[in-house]
Assembly symmetry: C2
């Protein structure tokens, strides 16, 4: 995840996964690689009977919109158009019936609005009726178009055991283990504490919980249909929790909040610095991480009507600093040369060690890390994007204060991290703000003047990351910002773009470009010369990073077949403008796609499937880390990259 | 261990292991099977330079006396007379030099009193000078003459690691693990918490601690010569802790105390009943067990100058009730039919889960149990006695409120438990007391009258278990108690044993036999008719138990080649009198030997050697449990066994 994504929205917005942008769309769905759609617009979808309303990128299919907003839609194929079980009724809005629909429904049903959710692209606002579940799907589409077979390592089984007699004096634990020889090889000793009472109070009719071949809990009666896990994306800025029903693979509830460590600074460096200056800060930061995770746990459990003790596994994707702090491990060596991780992997951690109060025996899956700045969040993201499974040459970029990149194909992958700096931090931009109501998220200049889109159609109160990139890209395009990043003189501005030239004004000692309102008052939203400089530094660091990876890989910009922009910031960014300012390689804009919250997706995959979880560990052997800080050419290249492409 | 051994002494006395009674003594040592020595007398041995004074059974060699009182004597052969390193100087007392001494010392040295400790039998009071250790023994004599090779599963190694650089960015844990690939396959995640700081503050010069192939701790600098473990005998009555130096296998300090659970009753049944009547009692009992274990831990650590964090492993031998309560597991099913254990084994428990505050990552070895009344203490005892290694037919008896027995040879072993009742409880005998100063421990009647030995030569204030058995056996022998257990009428008493007949008097409504003082006042010590009945019930339960085992095994009393009396009670008992009252099979008295505190010995073996610890688990496969409570013939046989043999 981005460490500091002021492009990220709050709450549900972060879950608007746009994974289908990458999958080859079926014939009935208008091509998402249509250049006309590359500016990311949004539609509203209301699901009935819950009435839950969500925003989704235009053109995403209803199955995915539902899935990533924790609305259960029947499916056994995982959204591939083959099982024909994801029947929904379009109550409002237009969704043309396609060929697959014609094979799944009668004429009359289609007239009543019945469609297969996985075939129904949301090109406009919709209201959709979702029938209750009738099947248990065996797979889900998770991550970036990844089909994940449900094979969680948490298993339950209801047992009716023979009661002990003087001729059958097997110990309680042996009696239970004899009933599950096919699923468990050992037992957590903590299981014993309540065992005798549970067995006898339940007349030896109990449900066992087995995690990774170890018996971890025994519950009275038949609870075998209640098995839950929580996937966490533990970001420096935002933390997201998704409660997943392991019986059918469906996310049941999602919640997010700002990481409570914010008071120690917005980025990882500030937080590590705090631990270096104050010996008590590590404990405080750890406690704040635990509080954040635990509050989210409470929220998702309450929303889904799940008891905490029914959550038997958690997966946490976080960068190396967040994970080390959450475990109480001194993070200082991460931020001073030579940048050393405490461990690349944490094999056997309990959820409680992360402050997550779920079932006392629940284990936590933590993702391995490649380096101090390419942590478990990036490995989770690489898993979600199938970086080791796709033969195309792809470039994965997670934009943040620190920007992580992975380049390669299924055979060879290179990773690095570049210090992008605070450009994408709301705090470092004069009118910067998070992608919340009032933020300018789209900026366009045409002959008639300046056009902005503001989130929730509110009055503009600031600008978020995607708006910033748009604004600068457009100003470079029309010529008001020159190649070196300077605002051009007024007379030159009036000559090049008379329709917006009068927006270039002085604010105190500084020239600014007015985006909305009056820049002299607090209601004005503007772009300052310093803001442009901040963005230049960020994009130069990032493009130096991927340029070095391209060189190491032995290819050129044009050879990149796909750029995946990870994190919420990425999903709000205009590909065309990202290319224009040189943030990503210069390839056809439709090949630059947003991958969504891939760290969170990776965490979900880890709880849905033991083999996917193992796959995350295998990535360590496939990805080579390229250290930039000891490269002699880094500074020269960085300076070269500061200019905007013309 | 005995669950209620009022035969047991307090403190150091419990450690007077008499294991050599069983080993074949070397040619220079007078045979311990000499019938003249069968009454267990004691000598005093003072060790210099510490000045520590201990009591030991007559004829035990100095090496063993030293060893079981935590006094380190050089040795590499473990007391077998081959290494000639256990040189000590006899300062006071008589120890004739033997043939092995002549090969180890010059004439002059022998004249100065130098002897090999393993060859020097203590036939009289001695004062012995022990030189400081010069070698690290590779084996110890532990248990009942068992030679245990030191191969603890706790290992330390000092590492000087290369410091990280930009070209060697291995994570901290990987850097450490790369230095111990031959000794560790994984790491406890808790190790990570302090890892970065420890490595850097110690300039990457650290000592690793590996337990069972898992890295459990990293310490700054070279601490590789400080590796300790504690073995606990967690008895219902007494708890004993022995701190062992795992570098040389020597016990460094020993401490014992009454189990703090006493306030809930003297035996396991009272304590389990408490948990059934009061839902808070289990927590209280658990806390009391933890307090007992932890106070002993403090005592042995302070005495040996060892920091608690230097103790990396513990082993606990206890009966099933004590272990379940210490782990907080409901013990109720242990005491109601069909008598079910929560588990026969506890593979992966931390010391902290037993309330033992040593190194936070220390593991606890708990012995497996065979049945609700044949617990880990008995398995530890069977390990210490080598029950599965000796081809002789042997009967192991641990006398207590509940009496556990194992019969067999190395190929086949049968175990059972019999409810002996409170006869060996001080509380149930009119003048009963623990084997402390003032207790009558030996009773003898000859033509001149009654003779008693009182512990510490104090005025008699009560009678302990061994004295009780002696008194009744002698009274049966002279005829004052008849076959049925009744005191004979006065006139018959005067006829049969005139020298003591006047000691048979009325005390209130009850006939009693006066052992010391005036039975009407509180200073008198006597044996009542009820006391005799109590002992009859106990011995009948025990002899019914082993008689059924003999029958199941298909042999007769005379086929038993050795009887091992376990627990402190056993080591104070007169074999001749135990046979006379029918407590043990009628075989030659020298074949009835005391085995000492075998549960504690087994626990020591478990920390000294991983293979011995595994051996304890293998015993589960070798020993078959015979349940007495569902045998239809038990009651009839029990009634038959009530009579005394004539």
């Amino acid at each position: 995840m981005t460490e500091s994504d002021f492009g990220s929205g709050t709450g549900q917005d972060q879950e608007l996964d746009t994974t289908v942008l990458i999958e080859d769309p079926g014939p009935e769905v208008p091509s998402l690689e249509d250049p006309g759609t590359e500016e990311v617009a949004r539609v509203s979808v209301v699901f009935e009977p819950s009435g839950k309303q969500v925003r989704a990128p235009v053109g995403v299919n209803v199955f995915d919109v539902a899935s990533w907003n924790a609305i259960a839609v029947d499916s056994t194929c995982g959204g591939h158009g083959t099982c024909r079980k994801c029947r929904v009724q379009i109550l409002e809005g237009e969704v043309p019936a396609g060929g697959v629909d014609a094979r799944a429904f009668t004429e009359e049903e289609m007239e009543q609005g019945w469609r297969l959710a996985c075939q129904a692209a949301a090109w406009s606002d919709l209201r959709v009726h979702v029938p209750p579940l009738t099947t248990r799907p065996k797979a889900s589409t998770v991550g970036v178009g990844r089909q994940v077979i449900h094979r969680p390592t948490v298993l339950k089984r209801y047992l009716e055991l023979p009661e002990p007699t003087l001729t059958d004096q097997r110990p309680d634990l042996r009696r239970v283990m004899d009933g599950i020889t096919d699923m468990a090889s050992g037992a957590d000793p903590q299981v014993l504490r309540g065992l005798p009472k549970i067995l006898r109070s339940a007349d030896f009719k109990v449900t066992v919980v087995v995690v990774d071949d170890i018996l971890v809990a025994i519950e009275p009666g038949d609870t075998s249909d209640r098995v839950f896990a929580i996937a966490y994306d533990l970001g420096t800025t935002s933390v997201v929790a998704t409660l997943v029903d392991l019986i059918n693979g469906m996310p049941l509830s999602v919640s997010s909040m700002l990481n409570k460590q914010q008071r120690y600074g917005a980025d990882v460096i500030s937080r590590i610095s705090a631990t270096m200056l104050d010996p008590t800060a590590l404990d405080s930061l750890q406690a704040l991480a635990h509080e954040t995770l635990d509050e989210l746990t409470e929220e998702v459990c309450v929303e889904a009507g799940v008891d905490r003790s029914e959550v038997y596994q958690v997966a946490v994707a976080g960068n190396a600093t967040m994970v080390q702090i959450a475990l109480g491990i001194d993070p200082e060596p991460l931020c001073v040369a030579p940048f050393i991780l405490a461990a690349e992997d944490y094999p056997d951690v309990r959820a409680s060690e992360l402050g997550i109060k779920v079932n006392a025996r629940a284990r936590a899956c933590l993702f391995p890390a490649l380096g101090a700045y390419v942590g478990g969040d990036i490995v989770a993201g690489a898993l979600a994007c199938g970086m080791d499974r796709d033969q195309r040459v792809r470039l994965f970029i997670d934009v943040g204060t620190n920007c992580e990149m992975i380049l390669g194909n299924g055979d060879r992958l290179l990773a690095t991290a570049a210090p992008a700096g605070p450009a994408f931090e709301a705090a470092s931009i004069a009118c910067g703000m998070r992608a919340a109501a009032g933020a300018i998220e789209v900026v366009r200049i045409d002959d008639s003047g300046l056009h902005i889109d503001v989130i929730d159609d509110a009055a503009a109160t600031g600008i978020c990351g995607s708006g910033l990139v748009d604004a600068i890209a457009e100003l470079v395009r029309v010529g008001l910002i020159d190649e070196s990043g300077r605002f051009v003189p007024d007379e030159r501005a009036a000559e090049l773009a008379p329709q917006v030239a009068d927006r270039l004004v002085m604010r105190g000692q500084e020239r600014v470009f007015v985006l909305a309102g009056d820049p002299i008052t607090s209601s004005g939203v503007y772009l300052s010369q310093r803001d442009v400089r901040e963005l230049q530094f960020a994009k130069a660091a990032i493009s130096t990073g991927w340029a070095i990876l391209l060189e190491e890989f032995g290819i050129e910009e044009k050879d990149v077949q796909q750029v995946l922009l990870a994190g919420s910031f990425g999903s709000y960014l205009s590909p065309k403008n990202a290319i224009r300012i040189g943030l990503v390689p210069d390839i056809a804009p439709p090949r630059v796609v947003s991958a969504g919250n891939v760290a969170g997706e990776g965490a979900k995959m880890a709880v849905l499937s033991g083999s996917e979880r193992n796959g995350a560990h295998s990535l360590l052997n496939v990805i080579s880390y390229v250290e930039l800080s000891d490269r002699e050419d880094f500074n020269d290249r960085f300076v070269d990259e500061l200019a905007f492409p013309v």
